[in-house]
């Protein structure tokens, strides 16, 4: 067999003759007045104007057109020179969904609801520090550990949450030691990691010693500059900021810089301070920031915090922060916005970073599962927040149930089935669907419907704006494209 294609392979159809080709599945959505974003099944995108789009679908494109070559390379069409296209496309789709076969990797333990902070936007009710009734019991914790290790996923992360997780440090120690001992006895021990979500206000040297010994990462909250942070996160003494900053320094010293991360939450008071918030993260040597809106659950709703600003106002805040971060990079300061990085990984690579809100089938149960302080098991962190509002729709069962019973729960399977974005109204036409998610808990909270009404969905509005914004920025500026490719490949 010759190494080379015969000469006839290179014979093109005469100029002005439409090429012979088949369409491969793709979707398109308007980007602006003139252009559409088109994505193939694997989420690779191209921009196309209406006229060539019409010609593409009606098989009028000519083989020598640059657009034709581009569309063939990106698997929007196949011709006699690209017979492998469906197979290659399938491999890309398979890579994107490879985590599905592994099942749940993130297991959240709500060690206690107790917290000494009184954040008005907190999603779970604040409880007095002394109320043991809001702590997880040893028995429940042991049963939860047993469930965790039954997950087929070879990599399992246990995340400790609260309240303030370190207020129940004794149970944290028990879970870590029990899980490690049980894991070591498995025929195939899992890659087991731990992370503690904490406000760092009550952390002690003994706690840090334990974190060092067992490589427990720290995820804390930093809402912005001192005045904003202390306003958002009141505690006795009004010194949340001071304690957080001191805790970050201490934890980094002991655990290393990369083991300490921080999250911000946007309140109405944050909105005029986008740049100051970014500067605060820079000042404390973080390599990026995750710009997060408030979630429509729990206290945030009860105190009307959630409705204090519209999705449009939050998007303006987000855009200001993102443009500022891009400018910082232009000046040589390496810093990133993590939500954009997550989206860009989905947009520009075949990998799926597994962010629970942006998964389809939905990330609930599949991407994360929550063992609540009272032994109840929920399909996601948001699901247990909903339960604090007396809505237990997404309760899978309790730690007394078997792994099989929990994950074949009818409500859970129904939520996965109904919310599958691939077949949801409007999502099934949307070019952004391969990058997006279905978030049935959010839509249930908003519309009492797991699919939600997409034209009114804030989730949809927020993500579509960000997708379009990222594409506009990339297409308009080669520097931004290079920057975004870097973010996408190191997410």
């Amino acid at each position: 067999m010759s190494k080379f294609q015969p000469i006839t392979f290179f014979t093109r159809a005469p100029v002005s003759q439409p090429a012979q080709y088949e369409l491969l599945p793709f979707r398109f959505t308007a980007l602006d007045g003139a252009r559409y974003v088109a994505t193939n099944l694997a989420g690779e995108y191209t921009l196309i104007a209406r006229e060539p789009l019409q010609r593409l679908v009606s098989k009028q494109l000519r083989a020598e057109e640059p657009l034709y070559v581009d569309l063939r390379a990106k698997h929007f069409l196949a011709d006699e020179h690209s017979r492998m296209a469906p197979d290659l496309l399938a491999i890309k789709v398979r890579t994107r969904h490879e985590q599905l076969a592994n099942w749940t990797g993130l297991h959240i333990f709500v060690l206690t609801l107790r917290c000494e902070h009184a954040c008005p936007y907190c999603q779970v009710s604040r409880q007095s520090q002394s109320k043991g009734a809001f702590d997880m019991s040893d028995e429940h914790a042991d049963k939860a550990v047993n469930l965790v290790l039954q997950s087929p996923n070879p990599s399992v992360k246990i995340e400790f949450q609260g309240g303030e997780s370190f207020l129940n440090f004794e149970l944290m120690k028990r879970v870590v030691l029990t899980a490690k001992a049980a894991n070591s006895k498995l025929a195939r021990p899992k890659d087991l990691t731990f992370i503690a979500a904490t406000n760092l206000a009550v952390i002690t040297n003994a706690m840090l010693d334990f974190c060092v010994e067992h490589e427990i990462g720290i995820s804390t909250s930093l809402d912005g500059p001192c005045e904003l942070h202390n306003k958002n996160r009141p505690r006795p003494g009004g010194d949340s900021y001071e304690r957080t900053i001191a805790g970050i320094a201490q934890a980094r010293l002991r655990l290393g810089r990369r083991s300490v991360s921080a999250l911000m939450t946007t309140t109405e008071a944050s909105l005029p301070q986008a740049r100051d918030i970014v500067d605060e993260y820079l000042a404390h040597d973080f390599s990026g920031i995750f710009m997060r809106p408030l979630s429509p659950y729990g206290f945030a709703l009860k105190t009307k915090f959630y409705r204090a600003y519209t999705v449009e106002r939050w998007l303006k805040f987000y855009d200001e922060a993102l443009d500022y971060i891009i400018d910082l990079n232009r000046q040589g300061v390496e810093f990133r916005e993590y939500y954009a990085s997550t989206l860009l990984t989905k947009m520009l690579t075949c990998r799926d970073p597994g962010y629970v809100d942006l998964m389809s089938p939905a990330g609930i149960g599949l991407g994360a599962v929550v063992y609540n302080y009272d032994g109840a098991v929920y399909a996601s962190d948001e699901a247990r927040m909903l339960a604090e509002m007396k809505d237990t729709t997404f309760k899978l069962g309790t730690v007394d149930d078997s792994f099989h019973t929990l994950f074949t729960n009818e409500t859970f399977l129904q939520a996965l089935d109904e919310s599958f974005a691939y077949s949801a109204p409007m999502c099934n036409d949307c070019a952004f669907e391969p990058w997006c998610g279905s978030d049935p808990v959010f839509h249930w909270g908003q519309h009492r419907d797991m699919v939600g009404r997409k034209p009114e969905s804030e989730f949809c509005q927020r993500n579509m704006h960000i997708f379009r914004g990222l594409i506009h920025r990339m297409e308009a500026d080669p520097f931004v494209r290079r920057l975004f490719i870097r973010w996408a490949n190191t997410c």
Binding site: L23, L24, P25, L53, V57, P86, M426, D429, R453, E456
Partner: protein, 111 residues
Amino acid sequence: MKESLILEFDAVAYPLSTIQKACYRFTNIASFEIQRLKRPHGDIILVTARPLAAKSEDGLEHLGKLVRNEALDQCLREQIREETEGVRNLVLAHAFSRTGLIAPDGAAPAA
């Protein structure tokens, strides 16, 4: 101030589902009633749009243009969907073949 807008589509050129999908996209702006009617020169699809909040005549006119353009987009999407259905199913079947989510006909999915 007009309270409703009537749009007429040729039922041969526009499958009913494309008009339904086009209208659904604007349900945050208006409510829609869709009827398929027989006419001597051929069937038509009649859409009555009633804005959820009061709209000027120009605003209503603009909504009509958006629905018409969306209906055209939906026709293209329908064409792509029909032509690529076979290969789409093939690609997805291949992609999910190792997950246990796709079982042979009559068999239970892998445990």
